[in-house]
């Protein structure tokens, strides 16, 4: 049951669609069945795309499709559309309807809709461990009988009931579909009966059972309409259905048939739950969640508390992260020496030591910081605090033209822009979504953290660096808000969309869950450092070493020969390095475009690093590593990149550099995903222009202001 294998054609193959409301544990359930590592978080809208997981159990090959959670069978948001499309248009054998045992009343609304789809359904009563704790006792056997659909108690957290669930799925797959027992009020049943009679008299045969067909016609289900509209019988059937609908609406005193059916479902569900669920909870006290919320979403202290958490996170990122950094740094230094000593050829040695080891080392160096940042984001995601902050910030966000729920993709953006772009799908309205997509880049992603840590460490004393980091991130976010306001007033004018969001209960994430999330993301960072970044760094090394003009070398070497003091020799040697670097391909490009960045106080090396950063932000650090070590060949071992930056870059220039990094285009991969999510290439060009102009203007202002303030 554990190893996912490719499926030979001969064996029995079951395709299972995992359907349920958001945040009920669908993804976690798959993780506990197979050894998949799907993303799990404690808020609505973690999964935004369908994912297939393959595994074997007994003699069967399972394909389980994890779908985004959906509250009802509608196309409210894009991710819900994904689920809806899959259920209506794809082939699958069994639906596992995952429900939250602690809130069946709400979850069964969706279940009721699934029962009339003409598919085999198994219900997983998930979170049974929580239900037990809350004193909720469910008679699953009786429930199965009443619904006509197997109901299995499961817990993705404790793995209880997982085997039974799989066995039940196999059983259900092997048997004919049984009609679920969905019972409506007498008034509705009467109308269904009428339509049934009509269908029987006219011998109408469709792939749906007649009862399902009748119910779906009354509910106004589009798929069913599209199917039957093409048949001749429709002409006679239509008036019958219309009349029936009118009766039902009248009966429920509404002009919306969906509302009428929602009320029907609700009373059906109440009936079932009254017979199968017993609650032995002590008299209503405040739940733990409510007690915590009294503090965390306090109208006055809520936001300061959140800001404090953020500050603490960056403080930790810096101070705690610095501990292993020294070891990593000296490890790469040592490795450079050892490996360097075995290589005779000067060029190859420089390529390996300065290029590969130096560049990759500069990126790997920041792994501890990255890990701490990811732990912070994971805790925010898995405890349930995320939705609280969205709640707190909605008022402010709204003023800037953003949707409160935009907070979720924006926070994800602090980790990496790519999943952030995708999670913007939880926003219903296209305009809100596009707006959010445009400002996700303002939330500095994990790959930019190394640049900040490097510069904060270079220019500020250690106890202040964490605060500096915090200020960088916060000002990035504030700039993002400002940008949102500008965009909202110009490009994305329009009405405000509703904000309704479920607040999950607080959950203490298991160590395993946090570890999985952090491990997956850190591993991705390291893998990127070892592949893409290593490649880019080698490229940068070549571009910065060639062409190797021997005339320059001869010219300086002659001078060095003549120099009298050791000091002068030293100085000339440095000059030689600089001159060679300036003459390299990279140097030429950098020099050529230097006039462009000169007003920002950037030299050509920083210019090149920024350009290289368009590929990926980690490359910025590795490029700086290569460029500043080449120009400073002599005392390589004695000074770290941090010290060299401090020596060679004035603070106002460093500030302008950081501002550009904060604002300009995230990276190549993110740009591709952005274009895909935005839906048109033109948005990418808008983004390019928007971020470049914003970065340039802001950096210019930052440079000038700091020149004045710092008196440079």
């Amino acid at each position: 049951m554990n190893t996912p294998k490719a499926c030979p054609v001969t064996a029995k193959h079951i395709t299972v669609a995992l359907v349920g409301q958001p945040n009920v544990g669908k993804s976690m359930l798959i993780n506990s069945i197979s050894n998949a590592h799907l993303h799990v978080g404690n808020f609505s809208g973690v999964t935004v795309e369908k994912t297939e997981v393959l595994f074997d159990y007994e003699d069967y090959h399972f394909t389980v499709v994890d779908l985004p959670g959906t509250y009802a069978f509608t196309d409210y948001t894009i991710e819900e559309r994904v689920t809806h499309d899959f259920l209506c248009n794809q082939e699958y054998d069994v639906i596992i309807n995952v429900v939250d045992s602690t809130n069946l009343e709400k979850n069964f609304q969706l279940t009721s809709e699934l029962l009339t789809m003409g598919k085999k359904v198994v219900i997983a009563l998930n979170m049974s461990d929580e239900a037990k704790k809350e004193g909720i006792e469910i008679d699953a056997k009786y429930m199965s009988e009443l619904l006509g659909v197997p109901c299995i108690k499961t817990s993705a957290a404790t793995k209880e009931g997982i085997e039974t669930l799989l066995k039940t799925v196999i059983q259900t797959y092997d048997q004919e579909r049984k009609e679920p027992k969905l019972v409506f009020s007498e008034a509705v049943e009467e109308e269904i009966e009428n339509i049934l009679k009509f269908l029987k008299n006219h011998h109408c045969e469709l792939e749906y059972s007649k009862r399902d067909l009748a119910i779906n016609l009354l509910k106004g289900n589009e798929t069913v309409y599209n199917m039957i509209r093409k048949k001749p019988i429709w002409i006679e059937l239509q008036p019958v259905v219309l009349e029936a609908k009118r009766h039902i609406e009248l009966h429920h005193d509404t002009d919306d048939i969906k509302e009428a059916f929602a009320e029907e479902y609700a009373s059906f569900i109440r009936g079932i739950l009254a017979e199968t669920v017993k609650i032995n909870a002590p008299k209503r006290e405040k739940t733990l969640t409510e007690k915590i919320d009294d503090i965390l979403i306090h109208p006055v202290f809520g936001i300061p508390i959140f800001l404090f958490f953020m500050w603490a996170l960056f403080q930790l990122t810096f101070t705690l992260g610095a501990v292993p950094m020294d070891y990593i740094d000296s490890f790469f230094g040592w490795m450079g020496d050892v490996v360097g000593n075995t290589i005779q050829n000067d060029d190859i040695r420089s390529l390996v030591v300065d290029g590969l080891i130096g560049g990759v080392g500069a990126v790997v160096l920041f792994t501890p910081n990255i890990i701490i940042l990811f732990i912070g984001i994971t805790l925010l995601e898995t405890t349930g605090y995320m939705s609280r902050v969205a709640f707190l910030l909605d008022g402010i966000f709204h003023k800037f033209g953003l949707h409160g729920q935009s907070f979720i993709p924006l926070v994800t953006g602090f980790g990496c822009s790519i999943p952030a772009y995708m999670s913007a799908r939880i926003l219903k309205n296209d305009r809100d979504r596009l707006l959010t997509l445009f400002i996700i880049g303002f939330m500095s992603c994990g790959a930019r953290l190394p640049v900040y840590v490097l510069f904060a460490g270079a220019f500020f004393p250690e106890e202040m660096s964490g605060t500096v980091l915090f200020i960088i991130y916060i000002s990035g976010a504030l700039l993002g808000l400002l940008a949102a306001k500008v965009l909202k007033l110009t490009a994305f004018k329009g009405i405000d969309e509703p904000f309704v969001m479920e607040m999950p209960k607080y959950r203490l994430p298991s160590f395993k869950l946090v570890w999985h999330n952090v491990y997956t993301q850190t591993w991705m960072y390291l893998k990127k450092a070892g592949t893409f970044i290593a490649g880019a760094t080698v490229l940068i090394w070549f571009l910065s070493n060639y062409p190797h003009d021997s005339k320059i070398e001869e010219f300086y070497n002659a001078k060095i020969e003549q120099a009298s003091t050791q000091e002068a020799k030293h100085k000339l040697q440095n000059e030689l390095g600089e001159a060679l670097l300036a003459d390299s391909y990279l140097g030429r490009v950098g020099k050529f475009t230097e006039p462009l960045v000169e007003p920002l106080g950037l030299d050509w090396k920083m210019n090149v690093a920024l350009q290289a950063g368009l590929a990926a932000k980690e490359v910025v650090v590795s490029t700086l590593g290569v460029l500043y070590s080449l120009g400073d060949e002599v005392d390589e071992a004695t000074s770290s990149l941090k010290d060299r930056i401090k020596e060679q870059i004035p603070l106002p220039s460093a500030i302008a550099f950081i501002v550009v990094i904060m604002i300009y285009l995230p990276c190549l991969a993110a740009s591709v995903v952005f274009t895909k999510e935005a839906g048109h290439i033109k948005y990418f060009f808008y983004l390019l222009v928007f971020t470049s102009v914003a970065a340039y203007v802001m950096a210019f202002m930052a440079y000038r202001v700091s020149l004045v303030v710092l008196g440079g």
Partner: protein
């Protein structure tokens, strides 16, 4: 009266939903429908957003949305 007029801790029964059909359906799927019991749990600064409880579900909604839920105190 509507939801936004309730204070923290007050309970009410939903009388009618006046929202557009999209939002109405979403509210219904959250359990905010005719006859449902709701309770205001928390309000954000300036009452721009409120948190309510409907059944066992906790739900955040903005002032504008809360106004579309007509209720009667109990």
């Amino acid at each position: 009266m509507n939801l936004i007029e309730l204070d923290i801790g007050e309970e009410a029964v939903v009388k009618k939903l006046t929202a557009s059909s999209d939002l109405k359906r979403r509210l219904i799927s959250f359990g905010v429908m005719k006859g449902a019991h709701v309770k205001v749990l928390a309000v954000a600064p300036a009452k721009s957003t409120i948190e309510i409880e409907a059944g066992k579900m906790k739900l955040a909604l903005r002032k504008e949305e809360a106004k579309t839920v007509e209720v009667e105190r109990v």
